[in-house]
Point group: C2
Chain length 473, copies 2
């Protein structure tokens, strides 16, 4: 495409996106298409001749948008948010336009150094000490896999440089709570530890990891000749935003030389506000830490912030240095290809840079406080209603609730059906999207507040809708 | 950022990108900044108040662009190309603007189904049978890691569901040529096989894997009680674009039940032209295959196409299904979160869609033919010059050459210094960027043709520059 065509279509698409964001509230949050519907609307064969882009642009409206579940909608209360602030859209546009690939410092010094700068800005904004060095990964899943690989290599004295995991005489064990994110299980399995060596530690009534059980599990493994390799502590679990007792876990990890990885994917953003930092007290003892600015902060997906204390170890685990990748500056600079799984690297730092310039730390912190305030308001409504139950504390912005009518009070199967029906009807209604989930055998409705456009009125309307649907279901 | 501000700054940045692409030829290809220079130009602390984006935009010109190595420059002959066609920039802009996160079908059906459609279009365009199903990964490194994990799990009967790799009594072995990409070594080590179980098979005078040595290595491992788990065959190696004898490797793999992964990261795009498909004869027997449309094709980084024959196996290795990710459509649809490492997924398919609509298969194929023609022209010049040597065949678009003046003919150390000096001077000259590398003990200059803006005149000018620098170095 020539720059002239790009100018013409680019201006049109900038307006199209602005229009989309302006009218987003009028769209049904969850897509209403049926399986196969989008596929059927598209040709089965690729276009052989070119020049068809402009003619296809209307299909963005007719085909694509109806198939989008609108993550930036003010009625998005599902999963965790994935805000793509319009300033970050512009940062990403610049990254694409430049098309720089920052695998090595030399292949675009600005890609490496801007990332160093903004990751250090973020570190400061979160109140982390300079013992941590940051690098951008795509997702927390990938960052956690890296952490578990680094833990494996530390515990096995770099077995990958010898006969691999099979060379290691002792079984290596990973610990996380039974509320830890699925990516911890996935990472542990892919890293080769095996399900038998993954301990899902039970949680207390607040859904936080039980330290006594963790301690006992570590001791049992040690007694049995196994080697505790990694503990993943979660600050803000996915089901309920529970907060594991990090400071005490850190002491246990230190005592036994166990790698401590902190998953603060969602909660990390809350640490922009100093009053929230009690939640991750002990974080300074972590070996690695991940948070997702692409969730609550607004950098847009995918942008995970991975911080480590021992950069040399990370590089030793991740680096390969064939001659065709060597450059004159090696040794003087960071080559981020050696800090994670992929070789090539997109210039994601521009998104974080644009967002921070546009909103400032204070602006982002204000939005965090607003969302936490809204969650407390919803919590109060639930607590005040005799036929609703709240199933977890609300330290952040997620409220786990269920309707508990007197007639069904002792019938878990009926309660499950009832609450699932409420959630389904609300999701199909188009104004709101929330996540039904199971929490320790109980069907809950999970309301996660954090879309940038969500104001108090939307939370109020959601509560009204919950009440109405509970009555009519 | 409000839609109004986005409109204003967005239009400005569209023009800025168009201007950048129009003037790109006038910029030095390789950035000339010194280590630390960009970092020093940026504030040490994050902005506390917002509203600073517009005022910072000029720093794109003053600070960022001087730190960019211009991968879309017509003088970019380094590594392999990473073309970000302007149509793909628009596709990416739409993806960011929509901000959809397609981890599950329900979280944006259009993200899943558009990906299914364009990956099937690409499959057809490459001449692959419908036995293959495609999914987009970020990079070939990640896709290859997935392939090696799938191979590990097949060879160990899903050891990750038991005690992990340590449970497996036999050592599992991975094979690739000594010219295979660094990501194969990295993937094998991270997947836990261990360096001792990675066989780097020697290559022939064309730098292709020697089948006799591969066969012998497999037999020796079998005789020693080890289990051959995976062979990675490369179609178009990174150093020289050598082509491993895939059809025969496939027979060997089939005979012993070894997972066959094909790395066609660069060469895959050439298969848009049916006359090139002899290069990957046997590909239909592969278990998995990766190619990088973000290299030669122009989709922009990062967009790797990963094709597999056994989708169920991929999902079995990669899936986790916590209750908060279950949706009503599970079982009816594809949930791409279970097809790779990350949980969340950006809508990369829009880039491939926009590119294919804009250029058509024929347009892309024509560019492949142009670049291969230019490479043959350069090859002919090298072959005709008595004081230059070509060190590898040129099946694709990469020419490996060195200056071989009579005076230095038997002095490898001097030849290394001489050719490294030529490459360094050319790279510092600003008009061209190419990769010095070592090939079996010899210093080569690697000229990789494939930037979309590169025309015959640029290749001619590069050849002139090589001749001039060789004379004066």
């Amino acid at each position: 495409m020539t720059p002239d065509e790009f100018r013409r279509l680019g201006h049109r698409l900038i307006d199209w996106i602005a229009d989309y964001r302006e009218r987003i509230e009028a769209l049904p949050v969850m897509s209403r298409v049926q399986p196969g519907e989008i596929r059927a609307a598209l040709p089965k064969e690729p276009p052989h001749t070119g020049g068809g882009l402009e003619a296809a642009l209307p299909s963005l409206d007719y085909t694509i948008v109806p198939g989008i579940t609108h993550w930036n909608h003010p009625g998005f209360f599902a999963y965790f948010p994935s805000n793509f602030d319009l300033s970050a859209v512009l940062g990403d546009l610049v990254a694409s336009g430049l098309g720089a690939q920052g695998m090595s410092w030399q292949t675009s010094p600005a890609a490496t150094e801007l990332e160093e700068v903004v990751m250090d800005w973020l570190r400061q904004a979160l109140g982390l000490s300079s013992a941590f060095t940051g690098v951008i990964h795509d997702t927390a899943s990938t960052a956690t896999l890296c952490a578990l690989l680094c833990a494996r290599e530390r515990a096995s004295s770099h077995s990958q440089q010898r006969g691999g995991l099979q060379d290691e005489p002792q079984a290596l064990v990973v610990y996380a709570s039974d509320q830890a994110h699925s990516s911890i299980e996935k990472g542990a399995l892919l890293a080769g530890y095996g399900r038998a060596n993954l301990r899902r530690i039970e949680t207390d009534e607040n859904h936080a990891l039980r330290l006594d059980l963790l301690r006992r599990a570590v001791e049992e493994d040690l007694a049995a000749g196994r080697k505790p390799a990694a503990i993943v502590a979660t600050i803000g679990t996915t089901p309920t935003t529970a907060i594991d007792p990090l400071a005490q876990i850190a002491k246990l990890a230190a005592r036994h030389g166990i790698w401590l990885h902190v998953d603060a994917a969602m909660a990390g953003t809350a640490m922009l506000c100093s009053e929230n930092r009690w939640m991750w007290e002990g974080v300074e003892q972590a070996d690695s830490l991940v948070l997702n600015p692409h969730k609550w902060m607004g950098t847009g997906f995918d942008l995970s912030a991975y911080y480590v204390r021992d950069v040399e170890h990370l590089i030793r685990v991740m680096s390969t240095n064939p001659s065709y990748l060597l450059t004159a500056q090696d040794g003087l600079v960071s080559n981020f290809r050696d800090w994670g799984l992929p070789l090539g690297r997109r210039m994601r730092s521009l998104r974080l840079w644009f967002l921070l310039l546009d909103q400032g730390i204070d602006g982002l912190a204000a939005r965090v406080r607003r969302d936490m305030e809204e969650a407390r308001w919803l919590k109060d409504q639930v607590d005040a209603a005799s036929d609703w139950e709240r199933l977890a504390p609300v330290p952040l912005q997620t409220v786990c609730l269920r309707h508990l009518p007197a007639a069904l009070r002792n019938d878990e199967a009926a309660l499950k059906q009832h609450n699932l029906a409420i959630a389904t009807r609300i999701n199909e209604g188009g104004h709101f999207y929330l996540t039904p989930a199971m929490l320790k055998g109980r069907q809950i409705i999970r309301v996660s507040i954090g879309s940038a456009l969500t104001e108090q009125r939307h939370v109020e309307a959601l509560w009204q809708e919950l009440v109405v649907q509970a009555r009519s279901t």
